[in-house]
Symmetry: C2
Subunit: 328 residues, 2 copies
């Protein structure tokens, strides 16, 4: 393991927008070592006053919809406006397998070399909650380093989307015109958290993307208006042929302006901070419980009886909670 820097070195480096130190700091916050965790907490605390100024965009979509090409094209548009852009990835499947398929720089060759762009792949260890926690911390570090737009990329598997939505300002869902079933790959609830739906690959027969867009417009009509008060529009684009991207970028700017003006952004950030805390409390409590060896043994005995209907769940809960209380 590479030696750690001092707190001072990390903070100074990040505030000076040193990408190399930013990377090492993100590695620090992803670490499981207790000493690293302690230092990471201090680092985040020191940088807190410099965070919160970026606009945070979630970009979600099933594998195959062209997320990398889309990010490459949208990202190029963003940096052409002289904005600094960071791209982070949350990919729970890769974190389980130990490899990282998202945020791979080779998939975004133009952005990977751009001096105003910082790309960070998914953390490669930890459970989903931990991965999301680390992504949130990495995002704050990028904000302190002056990145004005942060894109967080997810694979659309459901649970990670909820967590990512809870740390971003705009949720962009990327789809493609399907052969028959436009909805493949959409998990429950994803459409309901979408602020902006983009049909990519509008480069085949034009009518397919247009009719997919039309169908999604209908579908979105039947969902409750998001908390922002802004009904989600549907755009089509071809990331490959670079068409339709400017309109999407314009809409993102428009949305950003709107939610700043109507007070939603500020309200949302406050709520996100509180929600995040309660969410983490829940994770920690469940961790204390389910990682307890005695509880694990008891659960292992009780679960089959419950599944078979031989044991009333209420009784099992009572026994488990009693055991837990006596443990602590």
């Amino acid at each position: 393991m590479r030696p750690r820097l001092t707190l001072k070195q990390y903070t100074t480096g990040i505030l000076a927008a040193d990408r190399h130190i930013l990377s090492r700091a993100i590695t620090l916050v992803e670490s499981q070592l207790p000493t690293d965790k302690q230092l990471a907490q201090e680092l985040i605390k020191a940088l807190m006053p410099h965070t919160g100024r970026a606009f945070r965009i979630a970009i979600s979509g099933a594998p195959g919809v062209g997320k990398s090409t889309f990010l490459e094209t949208l990202g190029s548009t963003i940096v052409q406006q002289e904005h600094k852009l960071a791209i982070l990835a949350v990919d729970p499947s890769s974190s389980r397998s130990g490899g990282s398929i998202l945020g791979d720089k080779s998939r975004m060759p133009l952005l990977a070399q751009h001096p105003q762009v910082y790309i960070r792949p998914s953390p490669t260890t930890g459970i989903l909650g931990g991965v999301a926690e680390h992504t949130r911390e990495a995002m704050l570090l990028c904000e302190a380093a002056g990145y004005a737009y942060i894109c967080i990329e997810t694979v659309g598997v459901g649970q990670s989307e909820t967590m990512v939505q809870q740390m971003t300002d705009l949720f962009l869902l990327l789809m493609m015109p399907g052969a028959g079933d436009e909805l493949q790959g959409i998990k429950r609830g994803i459409l309901e958290m979408t602020d902006l739906l983009v049909i990519n690959k509008a480069d085949g027969p034009g009518s397919q993307a247009a009719s997919a867009a039309q169908q999604f417009r209908m579908a979105l009509k039947y969902l409750p208006t998001p908390a922002s008060g802004i009904a989600p529009p549907v755009f089509t684009c071809s990331a490959l042929e670079r068409t339709g991207i400017t309109e999407i970028w314009q809409y993102i700017l428009h949305f950003q302006k709107q939610i700043i003006e109507n007070g939603f952004l500020e309200r949302q950030r406050k709520n996100q901070n509180l929600d995040w805390m309660h969410h983490q409390i829940q994770n920690e409590l469940l961790g204390l419980f389910y990682k307890n060896k005695d509880i694990q043994d008891l659960l292992h005995n009780l679960e089959p009886q419950i599944a078979q209907g031989q044991l009333w769940p209420g009784e099992a809960v009572q026994r488990l909670i009693d055991r837990f209380k006596n443990q602590e």
Copy 2:
């Protein structure tokens, strides 16, 4: 308070389908008294082998859609087939206010007097989780007393629906043709858990209900297929004029047959038991934490700082969890 019966008296009475004793047993399981809780646990345990044989139907809909009239009409159809029917209500709003607006027998005069029908209003005390827990226990008692169909009525406020869906076999959503906005009153996610959508009040100008039904068919097309593998159909009816009810009852029977044959019912029940246990564990753990006076004081101090972005939620979580561990 009325004196309690013995465990033997409760079990014998319930297994003999004594409605009076059934009612007293439900009062027992709803009680907050530690001695009652103990006895209730024993009772549920004793009756477990006699539970699980009813078909469990959730009936949800916003106030004003005509749930009572619908239940009265559907219930009459069910009892005409010689089936025993129990109707239970989950109404978190009434439990907060101390009154019970649901399951009021005066709203279902025909069923209230029918010897094969048992109606139980919502428990009038406790938090939502507790209300749902008691409803689940009441349902098991009704099953032990030989009720073949159990309808659980909810008000469509969101959270209670999820809990009720987790204890039933079929989720019926009742709507009415709206003046302009058919979707008023549907909360996020409700449509996605629906197995059967019914547009009531198809007694006005016929086209309104028909076009509402058509719109919902479109909307449902855009949602993922439920875990049962059976896409939810849309029916129209007039509970008042007693039209369309037979078709709905036929569909319920058809659905019941299907999920028994395809193995979904058995799988679902097993999963529901396990989910319920883990859900209750979570409730208990959160209760231990948030009801702790020290934790409450600390939270009270930390929350404003977090909302304002002065304190990193991760640090607050650390402090709260440390405090909790030292408490126990």
